[in-house]
Point group: C2
Chain length 269, copies 2
DNA sequence: GAGTGTGAATCCTTTCACAGCT
DNA sequence: AGCTGTGAAAGGATTCACACTC
């Protein structure tokens, strides 16, 4: 979900569909685990199960990379690990900077899987002068003033933004001006970036809201299923209080056809 | 990307497509910002820009919710905030528990946007007895032993897993057994859960790998563009060292047609 | 016999473009 | 005149199912 301002299919990876690219890291992780257990080969069925996808999809995905399997046998684990790593660009070493060393930034700095696969935390940057010099995860925090120099000196092209929302856009602009062309954004803001820069977003509250949507659906169905019984004492999982009703604003609004006119008994007054 | 074991379209939200659901939180955030600035109405064009999507998509998305706009005018901000909140189930208050209070768990507990929109951190749980009782973000950490009781007492249906990868599957099983039906998983593992449980995954290293893929592509194109010059001194963004070459394993492998036979000068030896 | 690789069919998502309402 | 709401077209992604290879 590369959410830049423009909707370029991110340098349109000639050949490999975006959906496939997004799954390659999954396969890679499963393969790495197999590799550590010294499993020599694996079938599409087994690997798919380990990665949490179905085998047809996996085979189709691999078919975009080339014919790396052996019919009747499966895939050579080591060889596939290498091919996928290469395809993802992980045979290179990517220096990244993390901007914003609060709880989240510190968590990211400490995250092991970071260094493991091709990524190296080249620097930690924070705007708080009190943080400067303090080591986090063994790396001294540097001040935002030196951002440009740090980026250039280390040849950084990938930046991670873990600042408060208010600072994110400005940080991204400075990163980009200094040479960064890929950004992983943890701040809850839509970054607006020039063409040619990739942005990926990780947003806790969006994920939770999506879960809440499905959770609500489940509750609705459950209520519908148990008909018009005394539905209040559902054991296990039921939300609590309610929130403000609609503002008095519904004047000119027709509200013609809500295609989802069910879920009636569930809404609080 | 609800990555459970099975591929149910997550309780198949009759009516609203999954892709639309995933964008509703984005619209909601943009609308909330407008609301705070007391903007009364907004056009699809404006709102789409604020949310980082295009206006046709936005209008189509809203059309699944009902006809909440006014032709020639636009959308009433307050009214739309309410409608989307309701659709997402945010007019209810969802208690969530966070399991695994390391750096990441602490970051999540402190995350403001959490409480703001319908979610309430009901409890923090950690396996380390030394953590027990210590307050994080004003909430005392409780021990894993009491997990089941905590879930039941608070009627929790959404759980957040921020434990190390090794513990995640077991934690998820306990959560589910106790009544949780939606999980947000920050641990880098594929959780295997029964039908009817939704899992969403947030995975830093996967996001980085996807960025690396596109980054590599850019580097390749750039190199191709600047032809066969002395490409080594690229100013701005170039990765460093290399990694192990392919294992000697490539024996039985044909490697017939790699549909992507370009990017030659870029790979290190 | 076992399991890959892939056209063809199906399903989902996005975009277009314009009729219709205010 | 302006902007929404939506059929219809286009484009992707997933699944099916089977020919082909080892």
């Amino acid at each position: 979900m590369a959410t830049g301002r423009t909707h370029r299919p991110a340098t349109r990876s000639r050949g490999i569909p975006e959906a496939t690219v997004a799954r390659l890291p999954l396969y890679l992780r499963a393969l790495t685990a197999l590799s550590e257990r010294s499993v020599p080969t694996v079938s599409s069925e087994e690997l798919a199960a380990a990665a949490g996808v179905n085998s047809a999809k996996l085979r189709k995905d691999f078919s975009y990379l080339g014919s790396y399997g052996t019919r009747g046998v499966g895939y050579d684990v080591e060889y596939l690990v290498y091919q996928i790593s290469r395809e993802l660009g992980l045979t290179q070493d990517w220096p990244v900077v993390i901007v914003g060393i609060g709880n989240l930034g510190a968590a990211l700095a400490n995250y092991g899987g970071f260094a493991s696969r091709g990524f190296r935390v080249a620097a930690l940057i924070d705007a708080d002068p009190a943080m400067a010099g303090k080591p986090v995860a063994g790396i001294p925090v540097q001040h935002t003033d030196d951002l440009e120099k740090i980026i250039e000196d280390n040849g950084v092209s990938i930046g991670v933004i873990a600042t408060p929302a208010g600072a994110a856009q400005q940080v991204s602009e400075r990163l980009i001006a200094a040479g960064v062309t890929s950004i992983l954004n943890f701040a809850p803001t839509v970054l607006s970036v020039p063409d040619g820069v990739d942005v990926r977003k990780v947003d806790l509250s969006i994920e939770l809201q999506i879960l809440a949507f499905h959770e609500q659906r489940k509750a609705g169905e459950e209520a519908a299923a148990s008909a018009a019984s005394g539905g209040s004492s559902a054991g296990g999982a039921a939300p609590a209080a309610a929130v403000v009703p609609p503002a008095g604003r519904a004047t000119a609004v027709a509200r013609k056809g809500n295609p989802d006119g069910d879920v009636p008994a569930v809404m609080p007054a």
